[in-house]
Amino acid sequence: MTRKAYYARKIKRAAQLLFYKRHMKPGVKGWELRNALGSDYPKILKVLDDHLEKLDLQVKTVFEGEEPAGKPTLEELNKARFFITLRGGLPSKDAKMMGWRIDDIAGLATAISFIISKKGKAPREEVEDILRNKLPGWRVDINMNRYIRSGYLAEDENEQLYLDWRTRAEVDQKALVDLLLGTET
């Protein structure tokens, strides 16, 4: 088999693994990709990412714990989770089509940015108070539970909210805070 054919086959397999839902949680763990694609899977993902760029998609890596400062080691990659996400933003009218109401997105944005500003942890009551300013009370609880169920937020036994795996995969937290601070009000 030629080198080109080898990579074409591996890229096809990587795309199948990443696009199709295999577990309850989306995405694939690094060690699963290593088992399916071989130890050079980071290279295969890089090529796939280049292909996806034309479609405005990307291979997103979410590391366990904090993102490594330099180049990640193979061990860190094996423990990380890989997803396919949109590369650019999504027009809010399209988001509405995906089953998200504009209220839901605004509430999510508020909850996430508030938790970021509180060093990644905030009492649920405080987050709900902020949401109650703009959303009817009965919707706040429904929305909060939806954000938690979808993996955007996590709640501990002391009713403290944290940013969960989906926020780390989907949201550019730095850009969100910069945009909010940069708005003219």
Partner: protein
Amino acid sequence: MSTKEKKLNSERLQRIIELCKSVEERGVDPFAVDVDDIIATLHKYFPDWESTEELALDAEAIQYLASVIQNQGDWVKHRSTSLYTDPFLLEEKIQRLCKEELATLFTTVWNPIIELEQISISSLAEALRYWNDLLPISERWQKNGPLQVETGVTTREELVRLKILAEKTFFEELEAFWKELKQKVGENEKILYWDFVGADTYSETIDRAYMTSFLVTYGYATLELHPLEEEIFIKPFTKPKSELADRRMVSVPISVSSEEWMKWKEEKQG
């Protein structure tokens, strides 16, 4: 120090612990805790603590205070990162933006995960196979009462045949095996290990090696090792030696692999 004073001091310690816990559990500002003042208080009370409970309370307060200091460290670290934002400023910005603006702004930094769910022909076929093999719910959830079995009479021979009882007890078997060893040794006092253990089939050889190991362990026989000649002899005792248990026991591993058994059998036939 009076008991009343001690009680008051331990209550103060409890309050310190509660304050430190609230930082950890309810996200209270860690800098609201005056660490220096708490350390001075703990230092002042410490010489008066005597009982284990009092000392444990003091240790608990120190532990929670350490977690507050760690929280203060994390706070400073977070402030120095690019993600730091004044929460009040951010809250004010959020309050002033309308929900459409917030949603529009969020969608520019939101890259949702793409995932597909699709049924394939092979998974459909597998699901159909499963469905066909699946018993009706009336059968699966059938409540079976305990089976009533008539009591009957059995014999010892029947239990031996069913391998519930052994024909002989283990010690009867061991004694018989010991007698066999003594007969085989005869006047020579000892016999080569393989000449005693070796049998026509490998499984029988394993059985004999297993029984031999008990002969040695329970003091019916002993092993004589000749390392240079690579020979092992087994020597039966005329009477079982119970005092062996008092002496230092040494384990002697002997390989009884099928290769060894084949080799022994070929030598015997040759």
